[in-house]
């Protein structure tokens, strides 16, 4: 039986969770159920606006099934789904390659400068995502500073067209846009690692790299997974980054298809179905993350 302080009523502690629960219900569960209702619903015959089917008994699964079949090889969404997955995977890998050392440095080696570096990490949040992407457009335009510098320095005498349907630009823009969201939780995870474990490893003869590989890295894996999930989820649904940076059909992502069907026309149920299928796919990543966290917690508790 859980103990509780006698001077406070038992419900007080549960009540602390109330704002979070209300928040989740209002801003996640209700909208998500609305998406389900639209996916399985119809459209108003006059205005062509979605008419959600709130009652599961009224659900029409035709649109969801048709959309799901589109994800099979050769289907309408197969190519764009594959492209989105590759872009997100590459962007995530680059984010980790760049972000992990940064987080590691700040956590382990930055002492006096730690607060300054943290402030610098937060700095991009002061400028809206959209503005940062638009800044990229100016920087990487054919006559922009980047190409001028590359040509002037003879690094690339004939610089590429970064903004004309170039997948590299879209992936790098995703990295640029989302990397702060990866570093911060990763930094928190690295900060939580008990330093005495590292000292013990070193005392037992482990080299710095061996201590990193056998202590720091495994203990930070839940942080890596958590940070990866945090940025992978919005990257999968992103549509404005490819729009702004490329605008070409060859770099469009699944989010662009969702935007198209939701933005108007008689098929909002396809947009909602795409959202649902994407959510299910992402739920797999999320489940793996939660499983890993639970396993790590269990291991710590058992030790």
């Amino acid at each position: 039986m859980r103990e509780h302080s006698g001077i406070y009523p038992r419900w007080l502690w549960q009540a602390f969770a109330l704002p979070g629960v209300v928040w989740l219900i209002l801003l996640f569960l209700v909208p998500f159920y609305a998406v389900i209702g639209v996916a399985f619903g119809g459209v108003d015959p006059i205005f062509m606006i979605p008419v959600p089917a709130w009652n599961p008994l009224d659900w029409n699964a035709e649109s969801v099934i048709r959309t799901l079949l589109g994800f099979l090889p050769g289907g309408d969404y197969w190519v764009v789904f594959l492209r989105t997955t590759v872009y997100v995977a590459l962007a995530l890998a680059i984010c980790l390659l760049v972000g992990y050392p940064v987080a590691y440095y700040i956590s382990r080696h930055a002492r006096r400068t730690k607060s300054v570096l943290l402030a610098l990490l937060v700095l991009p949040f002061w400028v809206s995502y959209l503005m940062r992407m638009l800044a990229w457009v100016n920087l990487f335009a054919p006559g922009g500073y980047v190409n001028d510098f590359l040509a002037w320095s003879h690094i690339l005498p004939d610089p590429p067209d970064w903004l004309n349907g170039n997948p590299v630009s879209v992936i790098l823009a995703l990295v640029y846009g989302y990397i702060p969201y990866l570093i911060l939780p990763l930094l928190a995870a690295l900060d939580r690692i008990d330093k005495s474990l590292l000292e013990a490893a070193r005392d037992l003869g482990a080299s710095p790299s061996s201590a990193f590989l056998h202590v720091t890295l495994p203990l930070s894996m839940t942080g890596v997974l958590g940070a990866s999930v945090i940025i992978a989820l919005p990257m999968f649904g992103d549509y404005y980054t490819p729009n702004i940076i490329s605008g070409s059909p060859t770099t469009s992502m699944l989010g662009n298809q969702i935007d198209l069907f939701f933005h108007g026309g008689p098929q909002p149920s396809i947009g909602a179905s795409l959202t649902l299928i994407l959510s299910l796919f992402l739920a797999v990543l999320m489940t793996y993350y939660m499983y890993s966290v639970a396993r790590a917690t269990r291991e710590v508790r058992d030790e």
Partner: protein, 427 residues
Amino acid sequence: MQNHDAGVSGILEALRTGRISRRQAFKALAAVGFGGALAPALSRLAAAEDALMGPGGIPLARPDKPVTLPLWEDPIKSGMEPETDGTFTVFNYADYIDKALVDEFGKQHKVKTQITTFDSMDQCITRLATHAVRADVTNITPDRLAQAVAGKLIKPVNPDYVPNLKKNVWPSLHSPFYDQESRYTVPYTVYTTGIGWRNDKVKEDIPNLSNPWSIFWNSQAYKGYVGVLDDSREALVLAMLYRGNYDINTEDPAAIDKALEDLKALIPICNPKVNITEYQTLPEGTSWLHQCWSGDLLGGVFSYMPEDTDPSVLSYWSAPIGKGPIQNDCWAISATTKKPVLAHMWLNYIVDNTVATDNFLNFNGYQPPMNSITPEQLVAQGRIPANLKTAVMTAADFGPGALQEMTLTPKGQALWQSAYAKFVSGA
């Protein structure tokens, strides 16, 4: 028997408003024992369906098939004084009307004014239909009129309050095909869909090509600098016109698939950007060849031309009458208005010569259909460069032979949207 009658009425109403198909109606009527008796009526409805019925049983207007929209209520009486006090809300695309002109209207009539914006006509209709906005007047496109009237979103107009329509506007738009007798609308802007290009980059003589639309399929040299309008109708219509198919309101899956195939062929040729920012990218030179709305090109010259660039580097071509799309936007009175007389005054104000010209030349670059505005005069006054005379329309452009993208049936809309989704997916 009364129950039977109610059932039959319900079925016919559902059929009329498009909630059920003719086949479903036959089945339902047979079930209540009226299948045979009502067969002639259903046949008439079937014939009407073949003539493409829109929402609420309103026929779908085409330039050669004009439609008189039904009055769902009587217009207001003549001779009333405009309402004063309170706020007058103008519902419109962002940056499509000069705020100074809206403020001036408010000052004239002693009301506060407010511009509320929408991103697309879909959003406009949705927000009006769900009462998310209480507008007094709204911008609307002809292809949405049947929806707006069937859904009682806009009010009928009493022409006595809008004398400027007959006085100042092109006669061809006094009683347009989409709204015969101008029962609900006054025209706002007119524009063509054509080709805009940088003549300092594109070397072909586009207007003199045997098929100017084909330039997009021969633009390998401009790869990365070519653009197509981000609009499901316009993009696919481009491909149809390239093939000489002028049935731009077709619902034939084969024609739409063929257009999709041609559009997809553009990707390896020129990797087109799909956007509606040509008003900025053409003047700035980040785009060299773009499917283009005439108003965007003129607006680009007025607002986005870099200081060190001569506007004569821009060229525009639009097809002859009946060979390329033309469009016009309108103003209508929102059904939720509490200031119906003042809303009529707005319709009259917007087709005032000074107001319309000011909004066109000093703000959005979209031409109003005013008798007082001619391409020759604009060039002579130095308001537009001579090379963009082609972006200015004349009254003769509107008529039964014109091509105008108009309302499709829901099935047709789905076909076009799905095809466009395949194009923009890059598959």
